[in-house]
Symmetry: C2
Subunit: 339 residues, 2 copies
Amino acid sequence: MASKKCGKQTIKFTNPVNIISSYSIVGEKEGQGNFKEYYDYILKDDKFGEKTFEHAERKLIEHSIVHAIERAHLNIDDIDLMLAGDLLNQITSSSFTARQLKTSFVGLYGACSTMAESLAVGACMIDGNFFNNVVCATGSHFSSAERQYRFPLELGNQRPPTSQWTVTGAGCTILSNRSMRKCNQITMATFGKVTDYGITDVNNMGAAMAPAACDTIIAHFEDTKTTPDDYDLILTGDLGKLGSELFMDLMEHNGYKLGKNYNDCGQMIFDNNQKTYQGGSGAGCSAAVINSYVMKKLEKGEIKSVLFAATGALLSSTSSQQGDSIPGICHAVVIKRSE
Amino acid sequence: MASKKCGKQTIKFTNPVNIISSYSIVGEKEGQGNFKEYYDYILKDDKFGEKTFEHAERKLIEHSIVHAIERAHLNIDDIDLMLAGDLLNQITSSSFTARQLKTSFVGLYGACSTMAESLAVGACMIDGNFFNNVVCATGSHFSSAERQYRFPLELGNQRPPTSQWTVTGAGCTILSNRSMRKCNQITMATFGKVTDYGITDVNNMGAAMAPAACDTIIAHFEDTKTTPDDYDLILTGDLGKLGSELFMDLMEHNGYKLGKNYNDCGQMIFDNNQKTYQGGSGAGCSAAVINSYVMKKLEKGEIKSVLFAATGALLSSTSSQQGDSIPGICHAVVIKRSE
C-alpha cells in the first residue's frame, strides 16, 4: 500500500477524517475577550465549584469532552480512544478525566501544542482504520499554571511585559470515520521537531516557540508544495504578540512573507484592554480558539481552509533551575470544509 | 477498507510492523541484577558524567536511541518519528533528547507504561503507512525520581516494605516497515483504560496498578479470543512482587488462572539479595527488560510470543497532596517472532 507520508514530516490523509463535533469552555476573563460570542460555555467562577484550581482544570477538560460527545449524538461507549494532555505535572488533569470517562486513553505531552498534537495523532488513528471515534482534548487553568510554573498567586508578583496570560479554558474535537454530507475535515498533519534558539527567559515563551513554528510551517509548505496563499487562515498558537512578530520576521528571513491571512491564537484571544501584555497562552488557548471561532467560521463557509499550528514550550521548573534553555515544538494540521 | 479494530480496545495489525533494532542501558545496581548478561551497556557512574541526575536521565534515553539507530544500520535522517516520554515533570528527559535528535517528536505520558504506550502508537504509525521508521523509547533514573516524587536522597528516609526501587535505565525499540526475513514483530496492541480502586498509598504502586493490568489483559483476551495459554510469556511491568500477587488474585477472581508463563518486569529485574523490597519500577524498568532479555529470548527462538503489558501509576505529588487516589493504566502489545 502506498505511503501516506509526503516529504519528511507531513502525512496526507487518504481516508476522510471528519470532525463530527467540537466544544469550548473558558473562564470569566476569557469570556470577556474577543471570542465571547463563539464559546459554548463561560465560567462564572474560576474554580468551577471545585476546591482547588487543579480540580477545576480537570473539570474543564471533562466538561468539554462530555459535551462534545453529546453534541455528536454519541454515548461514551461509542468513543474508542481519548487523546489528551495538559500542562500540569504528570498530566493529571487529563489522566483523572480519562478515569471518569472509562475509555482507552493515550496520554500526550506537547505543552501548549497539545491540541494540534492530539489532532495529528487522532487523524492517523482514524485514517489508518484503527478506531471509529477519537476524542482529542486539552485545557489549562491560569491559577494552576501560575503556581506550578511561576509563583503562588498570593505573592502578587509583578508580571514582566513579555509575559503572556495562561488561558483558563479547554477544548475538545471529536474525529470520526462516520460519513457526513458536509463537515470540517483534517486533510494533512505535519509532525514538528524540537527547536531551541537558546532562549532562557521563562517570561518570554513567544520567543522560545517562534523558531519551532517557523520550522514546522516551512516544513509543511515544502513537504506539500503549498504556499501561504493556499490557506484562508494560517493560525499559530500561542506565540502572543511579540512571538508572532518574531515568527513573521523568521518566516520572511526564510523567504515567506505572511499576509493578512496569518494570525495567532494567543494574540487574538484577549481584548487589547484586558492588559494581558503579549496575549494568551496555555494548552487551553489554542484549544478554545480552534474549537469555537475557527470551527464556526469553517462551518459558516466564511473560510474554507486553515493551517493550524499550535506551539509548545517544553521546559519544566527543574530544567530552568538547572540552567537549560527552553526547547519549543509546533505541530500543524490542515482543517478544510468538505465540498 | 476493513477496520483493524478487534473488539473494543484492541488493534490487529495487517501490515508487518517489524522490530529492526532494540537497545538497553542500565545503572550499576541494575547491572548486578538478574539480567546483567542481557543489557547492552551498564553504567559505572550513575550520573553518566553529567552534573545532575536529570541530565543523566536524558543522556540514558539519548544513548539508547542513538545506539539502537546505529544497530539498525540507519542514520538519524532515516528516522521519521520519535515517540517517547518519561516520569519527570513535563517529560523533559524525552523533549531534550528530541532536541538533540532533530526528528519529528510526539511526546507521550503514560508513567511506567510508556514503553508499551509508545510501541502501541508506533505500531499504528507503521501499519497505517504513515511512517517508515519510528523510534519508541523511555527511561527513568532512581535519583531524579526519588527527589521529584518522594524525598531528596540526602534526607536518608527509610523505605517502607511495600515500596519498589525506581530503575536507572532506558530502552529503545525501532519499528519499521522495512522487510526482514526473520524478526520480532508487533502483531497486536490493546489500548488501556484508566482504572482506580482507591489506593492512596504512594509507597504501594503495585496495588494501584494491578487493577489496570487486570482490566487491559482481560480486555485483550476477550477482544482477541485468546487465553493465557496462547502466549509463551505474559509480562506485566512494573507491578513488583506484591502487585503481581494482587494481579494474579484479581485475574483468578475473573476466571483466568495464570501459570508459569506469567511474570512481571519489576519482580524479575533485581536479584533477591539486592534489598529492593518489592522489586523494580519506573518507566526504565520494563523498557530495559523488554529491550534486553525479552527481545533476545525471542531472537534465539526460546520463546515465540509475548504479551507485554506495561503498567503506569498516573499520580503527581500535587494530586496526592490534594487527597486524590492513584489512577493506574496498562497498555499491552503482542510481540511475536516471524516465521
